[in-house]
């Protein structure tokens, strides 16, 4: 099962992944039209630690996803290893935000929850954050548990 992983040593903290994510999920074909003058609500978050190390955090697509178990609307589910959200069912209670230990489920700006779905539902086809990272700091690959 391929997932998104970050390589801290190559993350530049440029935040392009956040913008590429917001654009990929905007449903629009022009980034300027999609993002200009708007607050973005990306599904990937760049963090910086006390040593200045930066890295991006997005859904881990956990083996035992507490967000799916906690969803009060049955809107979250895991299919073929990907945790998906059915936006037609989500009512915006944000219980998933309250339980995700990685802070990977976020509010979308209109009151409902959103999360990384590996760009499988948008026109991008492959994770936009991975494709757009200028330094190969985000990868989409198969891995076991971290040592």
């Amino acid at each position: 099962m391929k997932r998104i992983y970050v390589k801290e040593e190559w993350c530049l903290g440029c935040h392009l992944c956040e913008y590429n994510c917001a654009f990929a999920n905007s449903g629009m074909t022009d980034m300027v039209k999609a993002l200009r003058g708007k607050t973005i609500y990306p599904r990937i978050q760049v963090e910086q630690d006390e040593n200045g190390v930066t890295y991006a955090v997005s859904c881990r697509h956990c083996n035992d996803p507490i967000c799916v178990k906690s969803c009060i609307a049955g809107a979250l589910s895991k299919k073929d290893g990907v945790i998906e959200i059915d936006h037609s069912k989500c009512v915006g209670c944000l219980t998933c935000v309250l339980v995700c230990p990685y802070g990977a489920v976020v509010e979308d700006g209109s009151g409902v929850a959103q999360k990384c779905e590996l760009c499988m539902k948008n026109a991008c086809g492959a994770p936009a954050c991975v494709k757009g990272c200028p330094n190969g700091a985000i990868v989409y690959e198969e891995r076991g548990e971290a040592e």
């Binding site: 190559w10 530049l12 440029c14 935040h15 654009f23 980034m31 200009r36 003058g37």
Partner: protein, 498 residues
């Protein structure tokens, strides 16, 4: 004296999405976000036109253009000349520059054209026919003898084996970053060619690439010790550099930090000054002593390269080197790059590599000592065509550095000496160094060399030549255009149409 900035940041506000990537990526702190006005602003006086912001701007909202605010036009006193005078009047200092001479002096490569076969001799299709790009660098025997079973009786001098006639030339760890070195080392290793440590020593992490490493010994002797010499595949004595013939080097103490100082074997923060001369070399005989000391130190296993800048009497100098016991001569032309050099030296000292190369090859042939040494040609070899022309003029292989830097992301802003390379190459600032991921850097170098190898094969095939050996010194394959009789004579080629 305040000048209007050299470059202008042109921001198309109708495309700017305020992602602030430009701001985060500019080590010169040109861009900043104004919270009050919700706009990106810029201080153009700090811009060096490295194009990092332009490249990373996701909406193509940025371009950097040359300012058209110029002093009154004067064909003699150019804008730049006048501003340099102002700067010197202000500071009393020597002007510093980086990378190769950018001035519009003749580029002979561009005045030389390559032959192709038509009708009377067939071209070779490199996709169908074998084509040999492998070359060996080192002293070649005048004749060989074989044993009864056919095996070689003659003992060969040590050789460097290159899968293609291009290598990455010397750039020290210190002048360029750890990740740049890692990229070069990994690419050289994958390609079956060599990279060169420059005078910065060899970081312990890179000993594993020793089989593809040329270790340099220069006038400061920084980083030189027994393990270092033995780690490489060849040793290069650096007598001079094309960008700054006749002067030494100077790594400011601010760059001699951490592993750089450790690798150079100097105290942290101390200036690393390489003297102009080697203080033990004042003659070919002295050079011979160093060549043999190094050979002795490494059991005569490794070929020794002597690198010199292309200067006026280069042919005579090369003749001397060919008799010094050196295995390879590297000649560096006046367009060669540098991490920092006095501007006046870089722009006014030395001669074009094309002329130097032709002169050296001819002189060594005339003296019957061409096989004593191999010749490496460096100092602005920009493409596969330049490589083919260099070989036809007599080179065994070429050194590239600027092209390699470009492959790694360099945009030739020529600000290496500031230490704030936004591309993670000519810098030691950790936040900038990490911008060059060697996974990407090495792959791009490999791609570039793969592309050049294909092109070299195509060009050779067109001429009906199927090996570098057969092309070397084959000046009949070259013709000059727009060159004077004298230039053609030195290059040893005929004019186009002849």
């Amino acid at each position: 004296m305040n000048f209007y900035p050299e470059f202008e940041v042109v921001r198309n506000d109708s495309r700017c999405i305020r992602c602030r990537v430009c701001e985060r990526q500019c080590a010169n702190e040109v861009h900043w976000y104004d919270e009050d006005g919700k706009v990106m602003l810029s201080d153009e006086s700090k811009c060096v036109n490295c194009q990092r912001c332009v490249t990373l701007c996701p909406t193509r909202a940025l371009k950097i253009v040359k300012s058209d605010c110029r002093l009154r036009e004067n064909a003699n006193y150019s804008d730049q000349t006048i501003k340099e005078i102002y700067r010197q009047a202000e500071t009393g200092g020597v002007l510093l520059s980086s990378m190769g001479n950018p001035n519009p002096l003749p580029v002979y490569w561009d005045r030389i054209l390559i032959n192709a076969s038509q009708v009377t001799n067939p071209p070779i299709d490199p996709l169908r026919e074998p084509m040999e790009t492998r070359v060996f660098l080192g002293k070649k025997p005048d004749h060989i003898t074989r044993n009864a079973d056919g095996s070689l009786d003659t003992k060969l001098a040590p050789q460097l084996s290159l899968s293609m006639p291009v290598m990455f030339s010397a750039m020290s760890y210190g002048s360029i970053s750890y990740n740049a070195h890692a990229s070069l080392a990994r690419a050289a290793s994958a390609l079956g060619i060599y990279y060169n440590t420059g005078e910065g020593g060899l970081h312990e992490d890179f000993y594993k690439y020793g089989k593809n490493t040329i270790v340099q010994v220069a006038s400061g002797r920084f980083g030189v010790h027994k393990d270092y010499l033995e780690a490489g595949a060849a040793i290069e004595i650096k007598m001079g550099q094309g960008a700054k013939p006749g002067i030494g080097g100077h790594l400011p103490g601010t760059k001699a930090v951490g592993d750089v100082s450790k690798t150079r074997m100097i105290p942290e923060g101390s200036d690393a000054i390489s003297p102009a001369p080697h203080h033990d070399i004042y003659s070919i005989e002295d050079l011979r002593q160093l060549v043999f000391s190094l050979k002795e130190a490494t059991d005569y296993r490794l070929p020794v390269i002597v690198k010199v800048a292309a200067v006026h009497n280069i042919a005579a100098i090369a003749s001397g080197i060919a008799r010094s016991g050196a295995d390879i001569i590297a000649i560096d032309g006046f367009r060669g790059g540098t991490g920092a050099a006095p501007t006046r030296i870089r722009d006014n000292v030395g001669i074009p590599i094309e002329l130097a190369l032709a002169a050296v090859d001819k002189r060594l042939r005339d003296e019957g000592i061409r096989n004593n040494v191999s010749i490496i040609c460096g100092g602005s070899v920009r493409s596969a065509a330049d490589v083919v022309k260099a070989i036809a003029l007599g080179a065994d292989a070429c050194y590239i550095a600027t092209a390699a830097c470009l492959a790694m992301g360099c945009h030739l802003c020529r600000s290496c000496h500031t230490g704030k390379c936004n591309w993670g190459i000519a810098t030691q600032r950790p936040d900038l160094v990490k911008r060059l991921n060697p996974d990407i850097g090495s792959q791009r170098l490999i791609n570039l060399m793969d592309a050049w190898r294909h092109e070299i094969k195509e060009l050779m095939g067109g001429m009906g030549i199927n090996s570098i050996e057969a092309l070397r010194g084959n000046r009949l394959m070259l013709r000059g255009v727009g060159l004077t009789e004298k230039e053609l004579e030195i290059l040893g080629i005929s004019h186009a149409g002849e």
